[in-house]
Symmetry: C2
């Protein structure tokens, strides 16, 4: 929902017909991406591929996946999903390239699995960015419970925890904050957090990249 | 987007997997429903049917259409679309049945075409409700321009116009207000309108009906 809203917000439109055509496959009955990576539990890849193939069947020309952690399976999805996929970290790096002037450390708020799998680190470091993330203790006390709160609709409680995690990164010198899990902007926007002006919302970056590609 | 958000808000869920599986076909490159009804312009029915068949191809078990005016083609869509469709006015009447105690006139905010085609009148009168709508002058000055403002993202301006149209119906004795065009709640919620406690949001009624049917 948050991605779809941002897709529309990022579209210059004056009437229905100006909006980009979209098909959405939102079937949350799949194994946890986080547990598959962190504990070797059942992989969500078969369901991710089934979703991509459904979109391809409806003649989608490319796909975006508004779940950062799912990008662990990016190469598999690209090979077997049947259509091109815009990588969420590439979209974020494109936003960083326009927003950030000069050197600096970038804060990364994300799940344990996104960090462990270096989903942001590998691509962002290749483009010259240095990332700083929350400590395991901060993730356990703040980020992880806040993600669960968003999943059950308790957005303001979640936002206050995400904000504390964000403040830790700012105190450690981060000049920008990547919101690298799609639950994070939902929580921070619900409390109209003061950290938002420094945030790069991966969901919005992905929406912007999708609108640009669709309009090409 | 507004419907999808309300679908999630109406779902009791504690984790990803509790949310209802959804496929969305959002392809706004179709003729105006309003102009097809009011001026005999090109019909959107072929595209509406193509959308329904796409959903059916992905094994959707039933469909909802968050556009009140599109229900003009309800019987055609039911016959040729390939899957059951919850009628938005039935969903609204179900909400009226639980919200309204005793007699009373119901205000209806909607497009010219929804009124001309008696999309609400026929079904609501069959269930014993009396409807009062805005005058042609009010629709031309308030409702119609507000709908266009929502389509280009100017939500607060739209909300103020919708609110004035709603006040007219309340002054004429309406005890409840049906928001019978999906642009209307988007505008009124953007300004946190004081009429919302008296409103029956067709989008939310449809979301609630869809969640109930999906969980069956």
């Amino acid at each position: 929902v948050d991605f779809f809203r941002k897709l529309i917000e990022e579209t210059p439109a004056a009437r229905d017909q100006d909006h980009v055509p979209v098909v959405i496959h939102s079937v949350p009955q799949m194994p946890s991406r986080d547990k598959a990576i962190m504990r070797g539990d059942e992989s969500p890849l078969p369901q991710l591929l089934a979703g991509l193939r459904s979109l391809e069947q409806l003649r989608a020309e490319f796909a975006v996946i508004p779940c950062n952690t799912a990008h662990y399976w990016y190469e598999d999805m690209l090979r077997d999903g049947g259509l091109p996929i815009i990588h969420i970290v590439d979209a974020v790096c494109d936003t960083l390239a326009t927003d950030l002037h000069g050197e600096g450390v970038i804060g990364l708020l994300s799940t344990d699995a996104t960090l462990a799998a270096r989903i942001y680190h590998d691509r962002a470091e290749a483009r010259g960015y240095t990332l700083v993330a929350n400590t395991p203790a901060e993730r356990q006390a703040l980020v992880n419970p806040a993600i669960d709160l968003v999943k059950c609709g308790r957005l303001e409680e979640a936002g206050r925890l995400f904000e504390r995690a964000a403040m830790q990164l700012l105190e450690r010198g981060a000049r920008k904050l990547i919101l690298g899990c799609t639950e994070i902007p939902v929580g921070l926007e619900a409390i109209r957090s003061t950290v938002m002006p420094q945030a790069i919302d991966a969901t919005r970056s992905l929406a912007r990249a999708a609108v640009a590609r669709s309009r090409e």
